[in-house]
């Protein structure tokens, strides 16, 4: 029996796993997809929010500001990419200045440091491509951008290095009570645990409602934060994005938000840590929790809205569009705590924006609650290694350093992804780290191979060859994103049993 099973290997689940690994306990993360970071964690704005948005006193406000601070600290020990470029909320009408001031006050109440309202002149100095209608902005120097894949993978790798186990392709269908704890039905497996953490993203309502079926009468007076056993409903709220080529990556220098007006909410325009420009998201509630498709209407909305705050966004430099689903909940606050009347069952639900930023703080909070419930003690001094070896980024490596890498491992001299400058060595490294990257998308998230302007046109066959060799699989077993997404379906002519009639010599077609 594990001490803890965490359902969901998104950024929240991985952060909780990593923080629980500080304690003397056994932890297993179960994930329905083939890899970490496959849901909301992979398809979002990749912003480190400063923390002025959430209502003062809310869990969101507290965890955002705390998560922001921890993000920059953790980036050092876990070696993921984060850039504190600062964010601007641009006000495009004098009539809305009161709204900007309210946002400023809210930020101050939330404890966001160094917030300031700047006038158009100063705004133009910071952001020359801001729209002609911009009158002022809220400047938050603690805002930033992060590699959401790098963050989640780093948390998972550090958790794994400290003893946490991962099970992939294991969708949880039920949780039952057993002696001394719970049984989690995950795919074909039944996994026993003393405590279960629900970090199931857009599916967290289903698991919450399953937990609720196991709840008895609430105990009074416990010191662990609780969540109600009332039914929870998560609404997938779709956000669609444009991702532009690195040639457009300098179009803005900061994350540029639009101050919501009576005309509606704008979209953000921001550089990414990979050097691209991201534009989006829309916000539309959808029925399906799998509806990560982009739509003509959604993409058109991104196009029309981005010009409200930033002029001449070079949208023709688009290299891909994508959509993510926020785990939205009516009350618009995180649902984190032990379920009333069900000691040992924990919710980490409704983690929508600023969930990515909050993830480190969520990890600390939830692991603390679980540790208290299970009376876990910290591992002895030195038994937990908080550091995780970084991955090589040849885009940020000098030629001298790169030459040295080639001397140590010639595979660094074999470029596989020409657009993002990814070598064979980095791909091999990604495949053999724990948890392993075994699919094209898993390798993309770890190395950025296929993420560039050719979108895998040249490197896909080469990466397939490396996967075949390193994992000893055949080409038709290689997937884009797990079972069902095989990249090839067979070999040439394998379905031809007799010569096609149309190929008879001399026949008129």
């Amino acid at each position: 029996m594990y001490d803890v099973v965490i359902v969901g290997a998104g950024v929240s689940g991985c952060a909780i796993a990593r923080e629980l690994a500080r304690y003397d306990c056994s932890v297993c993360v179960v994930e329905r997809e083939e890899d970490v970071c496959c849901g909301t964690s992979k398809a979002n704005s990749a912003i480190v929010h400063a923390g002025f948005d959430a209502d003062p006193g809310s869990l969101m406000a507290k965890l955002n500001v705390e998560g922001n601070r921890l993000m920059y600290e953790w980036a050092k020990e876990l070696n993921f990419a984060v850039l504190p470029i600062g964010s601007l909320v641009v006000c495009v009408s004098e009539a809305d200045m009161a709204g900007l001031e309210m946002l400023y006050k809210r930020g101050v109440m939330n404890g966001v440091p160094d917030l300031r309202i700047i006038d158009r002149k100063e705004l133009l100095e910071l952001e020359p491509n801001v729209s002609d209608t911009a009158v002022a902005a809220l400047w938050a120097p603690t805002g930033g951008i992060v590699d959401p894949f790098g963050l989640t993978v780093a948390l998972a790798e550090n958790a794994a290095a400290n003893g946490v186990e991962f099970r992939f392709n294991a969708p949880v269908s039920d949780v039952r009570r057993i002696d001394g704890g719970f049984e989690v039905v995950a795919g074909d497996e039944r996994i026993a645990a003393r405590a279960v953490v629900n970090a199931a993203g857009v599916y967290a309502d289903e698991l919450h409602n399953c937990f609720a079926g196991l709840a008895g009468a609430p105990d009074a007076g416990q010191d662990i934060p609780t969540v109600s056993a009332e039914p929870l409903r998560i609404v997938p709220r779709k956000g669609e994005y444009y991702l532009l080529d690195t040639t457009a990556g300098q179009h803005v220098r900061h994350t540029v938000f639009m101050l919501p007006t009576s005309m509606g909410k704008g979209v953000l325009v921001s550089p990414t840590v990979h050097g691209n420009l991201i534009v989006g998201p829309t916000a539309k509630d959808v029925e399906s929790k799998e509806a990560t498709n982009t739509t003509a209407q959604g993409l058109a909305e991104v196009v029309s809205k981005c010009s409200l705050t930033v002029k001449d966004v070079p949208l023709r430099e688009v290299i891909t569009t994508f959509a993510g689903l926020r785990a939205h909940q009516e009350k618009h606050d995180f649902v984190i705590g032990e379920m009333e009347g069900a000691p040992g069952l924990f919710d980490c639900a409704a983690i929508e924006s600023p969930g990515l930023t909050s993830a480190p703080a969520i990890g600390v909070m939830v692991s603390g609650m679980v540790a208290r419930r299970l009376q876990l003690s910290h591992k002895p001094e030195g038994a937990f290694d908080p550091t995780r070896p970084g991955v090589v980024n040849l885009m940020a490596t000098s030629f001298d350093e790169w030459d040295q890498l080639c001397r140590e491992n010639p595979q660094y001299g074999n470029i596989i992804c020409r657009c993002c400058r990814v070598s064979e060595a980095q791909i091999v490294d990604a495949i053999h780290r724990k948890p392993q990257a075994t699919s094209l998308d898993a390798i993309k998230r770890r190395t950025s191979a296929t993420m560039g302007r050719c979108q895998g046109g040249f490197c896909t066959p080469k990466i397939m060859e490396i996967i075949e060799r390193e994992l000893g699989v055949s080409a038709d077993q290689i997937t884009k994103r797990g079972p069902g997404s095989e990249l090839v379906v067979g070999t040439n002519k394998d379905r031809i049993t007799q010569p096609a009639a149309s190929l008879k010599g001399g026949e008129e077609l």
Binding site: Y242, L243, E290, T292, N293, T294, T295, A296, G298, L299, V318, I319, T320, T321, F322, F399, D400, W402, D403, C406, R407, P410, Q411, Y412, G413, N414, I415, R418, R421, E424, L440, R453, C454, Q455, G456, G457, F458, T460, P461, M464, A475, K480, R481, G482, P483, G484, S485, E486, L487, V488, V489, G490, T491, N492, K493, D494, R495, I496, S502, L509
Partner: protein, 427 residues
């Protein structure tokens, strides 16, 4: 990194058809210190996966396959003992023509070149660049990627195929997939005409009964893991999908052949001036770019229709690079750009963009593409306001490259010539 910098007369970036022809021509022009840098593990570039025939009709007066066509040039380069460094990717070219490379064998190396020939070729426009709505499953391939999987790896990317875009690779792949046992449902083309060669429409679609849907595009991709279906709609004259015309085609593969883009990352980083129309370098009569001693040819300069023309153009670039590398005094001169060649009235661009009558050869081929499908139009050349060429063409289409030839003596005879214009005229 070695302390003493390696040095060569002509360094050629790319060992595909353009690079090979340039290398051979440079050698034959007298520069025997030629180095070809190729990132793949073999020479020949994209020709290696073009196993269909139809190559070399102009150059060799026979129909060769891509690998056969490449082999002729590879063999020639070997006979001349031209140095070719494989598995070597160029990372940087400085305006002073210092080339930085990386390879597994040598790590990082820097090479000083008297002249550089850019021959990096082009890449395919991916699905993402179209912002086509829908899911992003496995089974969406650019046609060239699928071609590599099928022709080099022997792997079938899918069984039921819809092709978006009627570029030549897409047309060729329609036939290839059919021959390998897949079913090609249709080819949808957003334009009212195909972007490919007429002969490929006939031989790759018509001969196999594959429908070509002009003025149609893909408006939705279904399937979260693997493609399950695509929806295709008719578009209006502004290429916007017409609501209500959507037809859903169940399939497991969407293949794209929606345009080729010259791969000029290195050129741009070096400071080479690029044309917004071709997305390739702006060159003069010697195929020299805005950086003296840096020449360009093949698909990195502008996307060609036939490899024969790539070879011809590259031979010119290689010879010019050789001359430059051997005439040391020429290197310091600021590049004088000559008379501008202006493309207008249905002519999208010309290569070259400038002609210096003093420095040009006796005859200069100016290549261009037209902007639309035209019937019975005249290709006209003007020297300033005087029309000097007027040639009727039955049919012209954007998929096929056109050319005019300028004579040096004609240009020299016109002192003070300010502009050469190439355009289409109705009469």
């Amino acid at each position: 990194m070695s302390k003493v910098m390696e040095h060569h007369g002509v360094v050629i970036v790319g060992g595909g058809p353009a690079g090979l022809a340039a290398a051979i021509a440079a050698y034959e022009a007298g520069q025997h210190d030629v180095l070809v840098l190729e990132r793949d593990v073999q020479l020949g570039g994209i020709l290696n996966q073009c196993i269909h025939n139809g190559f070399g009709l102009h150059t060799f007066k026979e129909e060769l396959t891509g690998p056969e066509y490449a082999a002729r040039f590879i063999q020639k380069a070997q006979e001349l003992d031209i140095a070719c460094r494989l598995g070597t990717m160029v990372l940087d070219i400085s305006p002073e023509r210092v080339v930085t490379t990386v390879s597994a064998a040598d790590g990082i190396r820097t090479i000083a070149a008297d002249a550089v020939v850019l021959a990096m070729g082009c890449r395919e426009r991916p699905r993402g660049a179209l912002a086509t709505p829908g899911y992003r499953p496995a089974g969406v391939y650019s046609a060239g990627t699928a071609q590599r999987l099928v022709n080099i790896e022997g792997q079938m990317p899918g069984r039921e195929v819809v092709i978006l875009g009627s570029g030549d690779i897409g047309l060729i792949m329609a036939r290839r997939m059919t021959l390998e046992g897949a079913h090609v449902v249709c080819v949808a083309e957003v334009m009212p005409y195909s972007g490919g060669l007429k002969r490929n429409i006939v031989q790759c679609l018509d001969d196999f009964g594959i429908p070509l849907l002009l003025s149609h595009t893909v408006v939705d991709v279904e399937g979260k893991d693997r493609v399950e279906a695509v929806s295709i709609a008719e578009v209006d004259e502004r290429m916007r999908p017409i609501p209500g015309t959507e037809v859903r085609y169940p399939c497991d593969t969407l293949m794209l052949s929606v345009g080729l883009l010259p791969e000029n990352e290195l050129s741009r980083a070096a400071g080479v001036e690029l044309s917004p129309v071709t997305r390739g370098p702006i060159v003069d009569q010697s195929l020299q770019t805005s950086i003296p001693g840096v020449f360009a040819c093949g698909n990195v300069l502008h996307v060609h229709d036939l490899v024969d023309f790539v070879s011809q153009e590259a031979a010119e670039a290689g010879a010019q690079a050789a001359h430059f590398s051997m005439a040391k005094d020429a290197q310091d001169g600021a590049a004088e750009r000559g008379v501008p060649v202006v493309a207008t009235d249905g002519v999208r661009y010309t290569v070259p963009s400038f002609v210096d009558p003093q420095k040009m050869a006796d005859k200069l081929t100016v290549r261009f593409r037209v902007a639309n499908e035209y019937c019975d139009r005249y290709v006209s050349v003007y020297y300033d306001d005087e029309r000097v060429q007027h040639r009727k063409k039955r049919v012209m289409a954007p998929g096929e490259m056109e050319q005019v030839v300028l004579k040096r003596e004609d240009l020299l005879a016109r002192e003070g010539l300010a502009q050469i214009t190439v355009k289409l005229e109705e009469e």
